[in-house]
Symmetry: D2
Subunit: 108 residues, 4 copies
């Protein structure tokens, strides 16, 4: 399988961002997982009292920008975690999809 | 800011994967956030009883592959969520980094 | 094992609280788990950038009240979830401790 | 408001349990929040692909015991967290309900 996701520019930007603020010392794996948990929690809060219909239509409401920001926050902390653990996310994702394809054969 | 992350091939692969298994009907926003919560939970479990030193060294241990798989799982569900909400993750990430740069000016 | 936790007065208070606000219709299992995820996320945020030493001393700081409130929020949503699922939490807790005692025999 | 929840026997049992296994050294606030995140994740997984109707009926299915165990696990780690932070959960819960009653006045 060829490359599925290219995160090189994002990783470079996040490295510079942390560097300029002297944040590398805070970005330990356990701290980044707690931060990830916090952001997933904020995403969950947006949807907690919505019906499935309201949830499906959220991007047509004034909450759309909030949803975009929380999705971005989850992705940013996940990438920082992958970076400090030196994980190649493209490789990890390709391996996992290949495993899933064996575990769940196509229905048709 | 130019493009930071390219997810087009991954989104195409995930769309085909869901399509071939008739999974689109399960991938509602609320279900995907619960799935994301489940995967972040599995990631947290790997690190819960580790010291910061043990956590920093996890990729040199036999648990490395497990960590890679859980990082991939979080990313895959996050991308599916972005896809069903029709969010441009590159745009969302660039906006969020620009906001963070204003909120947290460089220390030096 | 005799009773370990008595939640009857709390359950009655939460039932009345939801009743007076016409909130029962919102308190579905999936919504309550999303709400629980949100509150665990808020708890995680308090501790995300702390060292273990800072975390251990948090109750001696001005953040103590915030921690107490988030612990309460997690407990309140967990109890509402148990209530809508008609789970006897005392029984559930006693069974789980008995299972854990078999799974993890005392070291000494 | 008089006492709403009595956790004294549970706290004593959990203290003895940790003591007999020499687990107190592992039960730091950050580790317990990661463990709590892990258990909330397991709870979320049970419900992730269910419709609201299926979720409401889960206790009539063979998954009922699994749900009871995960609810217990969340409660046990939450109590351990409250214990290491020396939080009086009854007091915390009574204060939070009083705050909520002001924030959300009864609709009727």
């Amino acid at each position: 399988m060829s490359q599925l996701i290219d995160t090189r520019a994002l990783e470079a930007a996040l490295h510079t961002f942390a560097d300029e603020r002297d944040w590398h010392r805070f970005h330990t794996p356990r701290s980044l997982i707690l931060a990830l948990t916090g952001e997933v929690g904020e995403l969950a809060e947006i949807f907690q009292w919505k019906t499935d219909e309201q949830a499906a239509a959220v991007m047509t409401t004034p909450e759309a920008e909030h949803v975009r920001q929380e999705i971005a926050d989850v992705l940013l902390y996940l990438m920082r975690l992958a970076m400090v653990l030196e994980i190649d996310v493209d490789q990890a994702v390709r391996n996992k999809i290949a495993m899933n394809a064996i575990k769940y054969p196509p229905a048709r």
